[in-house]
Symmetry: C2
Subunit: 298 residues, 2 copies
Amino acid sequence: MFKKISIIGCGQIGSSILRDIKKKKISKKISVFDASSSVRKKIKTLKLAGKVEKNLKSTVFGSDFVILCSPVSSYKLIINSIRKSLKKNSILIDVGSVKTGVVKSIEKAINKDVSWISCHPICGAELSGPENGKQNLFKKKWCILTPSIKSKKKDIRIVKKFWIKLGSNIKVMNIKEHDRIFSITSHLPHLIAYNLVKTAMNLESRNKSNIIQFSGGGLRDFSRIAASNEIMWRDIFISNKKNLAKNIDNFIKNLNKMKKYIKNKKGSNLKNILNKTKIVRKKIILAKQDISKPDFGR
Amino acid sequence: MFKKISIIGCGQIGSSILRDIKKKKISKKISVFDASSSVRKKIKTLKLAGKVEKNLKSTVFGSDFVILCSPVSSYKLIINSIRKSLKKNSILIDVGSVKTGVVKSIEKAINKDVSWISCHPICGAELSGPENGKQNLFKKKWCILTPSIKSKKKDIRIVKKFWIKLGSNIKVMNIKEHDRIFSITSHLPHLIAYNLVKTAMNLESRNKSNIIQFSGGGLRDFSRIAASNEIMWRDIFISNKKNLAKNIDNFIKNLNKMKKYIKNKKGSNLKNILNKTKIVRKKIILAKQDISKPDFGR
């Protein structure tokens, strides 16, 4: 139980945390900041929290738990503004999808009596804003913790407890491992989805053919992923550029191989690859990261 | 109402058609052929049809409506085997996802008193086999007709009626248009999904990192598409290789551009692209090809 939790940035993830904190009575007081006046208005209309503020310093003032839920590119400005207002022995966490650069720079910026423990809950969807958050979003989802030098051990335990209370499974990783794993499981898939939709748009405008109407055979699913928040993903791509560039190169190498097989009608080589990727699907279902029910376009 | 419908190949699509024909009483007699004994056994266990046969000629004998639901690569063998058994004035259709080569070669092979009308219902999912078919699969889905010289006008009307009875929306296209549109809305997305999963597997085996466990952030959705039937997709890729090769080249060109923007931290160029792809999503929802509900991993 905290005395005061403050949430900075109240989009889909921030507002989902807010809903859980309120429902599970995890804090006596809750303060919410968002830079956008329309988001602040929505939070009020949705009656999600006690205090909605437009001043960063007064939001965090007196908080023992501060949760950063804004795009990675906004961290620097926010930390500069709040670092002197952070309470002694308070805990600062974030929910960002990328850790390189971010963890170190906040580590340097904050006072040593504040515990900085970077977090990454693996959830979220293609729609953003507080109206698209929901209760129990984090239930049975992974939450990755990437502690820094400024993470006190007892506080890591508190942060773990916090996420467990929200229903998450916890995994502690180092920054490098985190950014390498998520560059392939999340960052490259998003980039590829954006790129596929872009390629389809080019073709549509060149041929004046109606591809939207017939998108049910695959493109539709990619368009969902490619509708994710553009600020968030711009920041992630640029922050994790080293891992991402490597993945792009490997992806293109494999794609060119596939193209060669197709062009030369190498059916058995092609079938071999398609067979192997099927096994991955089975493993993912076994790891309970998806269900086996077929998706006939919902 | 037909006297006898025969279905050749009874996987997910074939068995779904079968379910609808039976339920809607579209034919007096139904005969089903499948080359696989385990599939034939499943159809019997599922009690889907009257007669399950392992002889192609006797399956089509006396049929006024023959539906080809097997992989594209099997067409030649099947047509050679049945062409002399096809009844005068009968109608032959298929449900294949690719038309180049296929439509012409059947057109040449069959007698002129048989109407050959190639069809492509836009549905299907990542699981195959008769146990994964379902009633009303074609309801509110597009069915594309690509008629040939050997399609009698009155029979095109009959085929349209057949699909309308199954609930489909009909669109008539020429072969070239069909294969160009579906090379981008369906064939490239599937190839990309297979290729992404392959690239992820390479990384996993190199780094011994557990990517399966953390696949919820995007990779999971691609793995679903990449679990589709490998024979069917091998055939589609090779049959539509010209369009596909062009799409692959455009895709790689765009991806390299994205990579350059990321490497050089060109945030605004990147955000521009991500913004535009979002509009496509809105159009797809407007065209009722998907719903706007967020997918939090189901």
